[in-house]
Every structure is written in C-alpha cells, then in structure tokens.
C-alpha cells in the first residue's frame, strides 16, 4: 500500500474540517478525496466510492457552461490547475450522480510540495444561489 505524501494527507485532514466543498486530485487526476460538503454537489459519498480514477469521475460529472455546452476537460479549472500548475477560477454548471444541475463557482490551485514536487491539485466550490 503506497502512502500519500504528507502534504496530501494534511490537505485531506484540513478539507475534512472545512464547511466549503473541497475535492483533491493527484497529479494523474485521480480523485483522491472529497469532503462531506462536496459529496452533496457531486451526488456521491466518499465512503462509498473511495478514490475515483480520472476517466471515471470526469465522465460521471457533467460540467457545462451557462448555455448547457459541455466544457472540455482541459477547460475545467481543476484540470488547468493540475496540468498547467497554476491557480484558476471558473463559473459553470455541474451535474453530479444525483442528476441535479447546480450553478457553481470553483477555485482550483495546484499542490506543490517541498522541492517542487507536483502533488496534484485542490478545488473549492461555491454553489451560486440564483
């Protein structure tokens, strides 16, 4: 069993205490963890799914713009944070496994450890109340 890097472990612990929806992915875009507030937006429970491979969670969550046009994975803030290693912010609609469309804002930033180790990225969601 491979152990996560300490920065990732501590990020999960922080996320588990915060009331904002937070998700954490590793550098290969595997969904490592999402906290309880994020469970409501994603429509799934971490205790039931555990880690989710990138190709799985990218397809089970539908992300669109205001007009309903799906956003390409490379346009999603979390993917930009992982692949381009820079923070980004976006406004979009997300449909999780519960099939509910939610208007969300998302801020994502890369997780870079000591010695420039690229560990993945973290995203914080806000549900926009219309």
């Amino acid at each position: 069993m491979a152990q996560k890097e300490i920065e990732v472990i501590l990020t999960r612990q922080l996320a588990s205490y915060l009331a904002m929806p937070i998700i954490i992915v590793d550098s290969s875009r595997t969904l490592l963890f999402y906290n309880e507030p994020a469970e409501r937006i994603l429509g799934m429970r971490f205790e039931e799914t555990g880690e989710v491979p990138a190709d799985e969670w990218m397809t089970t969550t539908l992300v669109t713009d205001e007009g309903g046009t799906p956003l390409a994975p490379e346009m999603r803030p979390l993917m930009i944070a992982v692949t381009e290693r820079r923070p980004t912010h976006g406004d979009m609609w997300l449909q999780g496994l519960d099939h509910v469309h939610r208007h969300i804002e998302i801020t994502a930033f890369p997780l870079i450890g000591q010695a420039e180790r690229h560990l993945g990225a973290m995203a914080i969601f806000w549900e926009v109340k219309e």
Partner: protein
C-alpha cells in the same frame, strides 16, 4: 545492525536522579553496520557522549537529522569528529521551502548561539538535503519522507538485506484525524515504518497531556501504540520522553498502556544506553 540509544529525551535535556534510568539527554541514536558504517540519528545532547566513544580511526560519520528543532541539534557543536581534520562528516537534513540546509544549520553554528562557525570546522563537511529519494550509506539503504510535525521534518527508514529500523522521533500522525488510524496510505509515516523490525517513535505524552498539546507535533503513547499496530512492527521503542516525566512516570505509563492495549509486539521504552541488535 546495532542500534544504541544515546539520548531519548524530548524538548530539553532533563538530567537528574529522577531520570537516571531512562536518561536525560535529548535525541541521538547510533546505528552501526557490520561493515563499520556509522549512522547517527539526530544531534541532540546525547551526541556528545557518542562522539567521545568513537575511535579516532573512524574516518567517516553520517548524521541523519530529522529536523532542526533545538533538541535535535543542540549537541552538534560538541560532536568530536567535527574537530578532527581527518574526518569526513556527512549530514543529511531537511531544507525549508526558502532556506537551504546549510543556511539553516548556520543559524545555529554561528554567533551568538555558538562560537564556532560552520565554515571554521576542521573536518570535511558534506551536506545532503532530504527528502531526496532513497540513498545508500555503506551497507544501509536509507529512505526518508516528510512526516507530520511543525516545520520540515522527516522520518528515516534504514534497511539492510535482513533488518529494518524506522525512526520517527517527532511525529503526530493523529493530528486532524477524526478517527485514528485510517488506512496506512492516509497515515503520516506509514511508508517509513511499515513492517519494521524496530520502530523508534515519539511517545511524549500521556493521553491527558496530549489533549492540551494538540498540534505541537508529538504523540501520546496511546497513539504511538496504535501507529505501531497499524504498521505491524515487531518491536516498538517509545521515545522522545517528556522532560516532565521521571523514570517512575515512564514505568507507570508504559504498564498502563500495555495493560490497556495488549499489543502483539514487544515494547521497550527508550532508555539511554539501551542496545538493540537487529539481524543483519
């Protein structure tokens, strides 16, 4: 692999009659290989006596610092091989995100904290920053990884073909955990300790004391025992004893913990002078 404890105390040296059995010197452990390789884990006040015990014929010493808190560094300036021009002293330790290991060490080895500057030491000095992947020192295969403690801090895993030592002297894996332990992959230090023959691990506090010291980077004995069970070590050495705990306190805390948890592995509270021979 021969493991000798030269300092087992945490935070600050605590010499006195009341700590004579477990010792008052701060963290320092010698690991000696069958080929004569000398590893020194941390440079607490215990390193002074270790340095005096080394024959001058030992030409290379390898110091592995877990971090640069004072109780792990205070003895460095009093380590005899540093003043031997024939000696080669390698030091591994963590940089910070903004300062190199050398600059961090210079903060201690320079006035006003210490009269001798790093560059004035007559030995040949070689610095190595960790974590840096695995590396070899003599017959030892060494791994390091950042662990949960304030500031850059690593644990070390030292292995030969037939024995493994894990050293996590300042470690609070329970911090922020809503249940402890989680699976190993989500537990700080797991990769360093998994399956080790000997685990030397922080056990500074009683459970009651820990409740007042959350986030200070140390473990209660109860947590260290749970960590040892999770990692399936064969022998656990509680270490980094609180300076306020005298010998009788350590005896009592250990006895209570053993009674409460009935561990499946051996427990030997770290005592200055204790020697562990691991098959190698």
């Amino acid at each position: 692999m021969k493991v000798t404890l030269w300092g087992t105390r945490g935070s600050i040296a605590a010499p006195g009659a009341e700590t004579a059995r477990y010792g008052g010197n701060t963290a320092c452990v010698e690991v000696r290989g069958t080929d004569g390789t000398v590893l020194v884990l941390d440079a607490g006040t215990g390193i002074r006596r270790l340095g005096m015990s080394l024959p001058r014929s030992v030409s290379r010493v390898n110091i592995l610092l877990t971090h640069l808190h004072m109780d792990h560094l205070q003895g460095l300036g009093f380590f005899a091989p540093l003043y031997n021009p024939e000696a080669e002293v390698h030091i591994w330790g963590p940089a910070s995100t903004t300062l190199s290991l050398q600059r961090r060490l210079m903060r201690y080895l320079s006035p006003p904290l210490f009269p001798v500057r790093l560059r004035e030491l007559p030995c040949r000095f070689v610095l190595h920053e960790v974590p840096c992947g695995d590396f070899e020192v003599g017959e030892f295969h060494v791994s390091s990884a950042l662990i949960c403690h304030p500031g850059p801090t690593v644990g070390y895993r030292i292995a030969t073909a037939r024995a493994t030592l894990a050293y996590l002297t300042d470690h609070e894996p329970v911090l922020g955990m809503q249940q402890f332990p989680l699976a190993g992959e989500w537990t700080s230090g797991y990769a360093i300790a998994a399956g080790a023959d000997l685990l030397i691990h922080d056990a500074q506090y009683s459970s009651e004391e820990y409740a007042r010291c959350v986030g200070w980077g140390h473990s209660a004995l109860e947590h260290a025992l749970a960590f040892a069970a999770l990692t399936k070590v064969k022998h656990f050495v509680p270490f980094h004893h609180d300076p306020a705990h005298d010998d009788d306190d350590l005896d009592r805390l250990t006895a209570e913990a053993v009674t409460a948890t009935a561990p499946s592995f051996a427990i030997s509270p770290g005592a200055e002078g204790a020697i562990f021979e691991l098959e190698s």
